[in-house]
Amino acid sequence: MSTISITLGEVAASLALVAVAVAVSFWRRAELEQDIAVAVLRSFLQLTAVGYLIQAIFDTDSLWLVVALLAGMVAFGAWTARGRAKAVPGATGPILLGLAVAAAVTLGLVLALRIFKAEPRYLVPVGGMVIGNSMTAVAVALNRLADEMHEGRRQIEAMLALGATSFQAARGTLARSLRSGMIPLVDSTKTTGIVFFPGTMVGMLVAGAEPVDAVRLQLVLLWVLLGAVALAGLIAVSLGYRGFFTHAHQLRES
């Protein structure tokens, strides 16, 4: 595989575009200058740190370290998604389980189908993408769930009054929540290559790979992500809705 190297000077040069963003924000009073500065600094520190971490993992070639790193990503992703789905009672467990199962099952299948080799070079970036996308989907789905449980309270309680179980009363809500978590990825998969070039493909092309190889890897990743996001959303929503109900199939006071 061909490689390219980028000097720190070249990285620094791209700050020119950050200066454009700051100027636009300042000129039009979007008041984002401080956020942009924080974002640039954080992205530099986080990516540099993770770069050294991944380098270290590649050097040791230890699968246990890979598992530990992915577990850390699951924990951080769950914490982030939890912050965005505050209105769902007791969501931490469902989110953690959703992300962990999505990561384990998709990586397990990818290995079992011999799409990638069981090496840190493949598992770390693919696992990171799976967990990151699952985190976003879970956050969106649970947010929608909380909104719908709030707005649809009367309808849901009317169904409970007819002898519906919590699950029967929430079924429509669960379907719509899962859907809203999955739709962004489904839509971007539909328009990929036409409206935008996904990051992996861009990266491979810039790094000098053959376009056909770049496309094939991108397809694998997109399709793997679809499965991961569906699993994570399903688990988080199917377990998360229970926080809104008691064991006696009553809606909890909000």
């Binding site: 009367r154 009317a158 169904m159 009054a161 007819l162 002898g163 179980t165 029967q168 009553q250």
Partner: protein, 186 residues
Amino acid sequence: MTFSIPSGSTALLGPSGSGKSTLLRLLNRLADPDEGSVRFHGTDVRELDPLELRRRVGLVPQLPAPVPGSVADNVCFGPRLHGEDVDPEPPVRLAGLDSSFLERDASRLSVGEQQRVMLARALALEPEVLLLDEPTAALDDAATQAVEEALRGLRGVDLVLVTHNRSQAERLAQRTIRLDGGRVAA
């Protein structure tokens, strides 16, 4: 406070904020009391299967909350939850609507018609008791009359009616229990 509701038709009368709706939701265990207990035929409702209790003690909510679909879909909703299929026409007629309503989209009916669909939906489960939470609060005079007429025509089901309207209590109930500041006045 302690009171019992005999069979027949009973109105719980009280000003808004006196806890009438909450009380009704305790009777079919949509909520549990912080203290005290609710008994149904002498058994604490917390010892009963809540789903079965709610089929035996039906509730018509204050505002209609139809499920998406036709009137027939709404009326059959309760029985279908536990795998029974019923003919939607008898309950719809009992609720004072004719069979031409069956295939109409429930969400497109007037509020008064929707409220009768709610009544038909509760009746389709053949409950022993029907809880009515201000069943005409959202309705105009004509619709109120139609719903009251349907309620007076019901046989073989006990009614527990919550209302702030004394004359409605007198029209629909054999007995009235007045709730004032959390106390019962007979």
